[in-house]
Symmetry: C2
Subunit: 199 residues, 2 copies
């Protein structure tokens, strides 16, 4: 059975993909706003995992809507949640099982129990979050078992996060990205898959 | 790294154990109130999984407390939650990582986010719930990939659940078990491990 896994190139979505790959045929899905936007770091990370990877494109106009919402709210939490919701809905139209690297200690993006039920009912899919029942210590232990990982603040490592497209659009419009996005938001990027002897 | 997994012989705790076994050395833990209480069905299920199994005993007096609380409440939800909490605390004194088969759609037993944090801080452990991010359809698909499973109402299959000890104590005290426990509570018991060709 195939599973479409939302993929950012970071340690969480990469670990989710590895854990799922023991029982499912994993395909990695990275969404961009503009189809011409290249995400070489994510593509390289996906290649390291060894799983097939696809770049998918949001509907036209969504980036404008996202930027408007962040400016209106004064913070990106709701917009990031909406990006996640749309990614899942789009994936659910192509896969019977969809998944992501949502962790127990994440606040955003996070689907509520009723949103999960609604997604599963509406599209007839299963939505799996392999990391939802795992805390930070074990996530890091497991992720570092499988991958060499680079860590850094947003913008300091090239982890093609969709924040880059939002940042560019804000800069184009003359909006101050830095004041609207939280500081000290640690990002991660998979550099290399380690050789692991599985039993 | 070892993980102590709360084990009932049912499909959820057995599946949790299998999923964890890809990354941890699994030991199964079944708690009883009375150390002379035999749990042959759980022991047989544990043997099928192939993982080491231990029977552990709650502190004296806990069964009385549990029965008193069920009678006081008129339902077993709080008592079952407390049994689960004590099981985790006891396991956390012996293992650096503890786990169980808590599912996304379970209401009881279920630890809240703050209880999870408190458990992890107090004992310096990690608490993993591998099934927390998975819905019923995929739980059943995965469990049936690994195991032949018997299903039935409580009391109709010999799945040595701790309800049996509570039922006996209530009968001894002349309390009507049937009126206090919910009807139509489906149980499961692992009958046989299937041969699975893992990649």
């Amino acid at each position: 059975m195939k599973v479409g896994v939302l993929y950012s190139g970071g340690k969480d979505s990469s670990l989710a993909a590895v854990l799922l790959s023991r029982d499912y045929d994993v395909e990695l899905l990275t969404f961009v706003f503009d189809e011409t936007h290249a995400v070489p770091s994510i593509e390289a990370a996906a290649k390291e995992t060894g799983f097939p990877w696809k770049k998918l494109v949001f509907a036209p106009g969504f980036l404008d809507e996202v930027v408007d919402n962040i400016v209106r709210d004064g913070h990106p939490a709701n917009a990031i949640n909406e990006i996640h919701r749309r990614s899942l809905c789009a994936a659910a139209q192509e896969y019977e099982v969809v998944a992501d690297g949502t962790r127990r200690d994440d606040r955003v993006p996070m689907r509520t129990q009723s949103e999960v039920q609604s997604l599963e009912m509406k599209y007839g899919v299963s939505y799996i979050r392999p990391l939802l029942g795992i805390g930070k210590t074990e996530i890091i232990r497991l992720a570092e078992k499988f991958f060499e990982i680079a860590y850094g603040e947003t913008g300091t490592i090239p982890n093609g996060d969709f924040e880059n497209e939002i940042r560019s659009e804000m800069t184009r419009r003359g909006i101050d990205f830095v004041s609207l996005f939280p500081k000290n938001h640690e990002q991660s990027l998979i550099i290399k898959k380690k050789m692991v002897n599985e039993p």
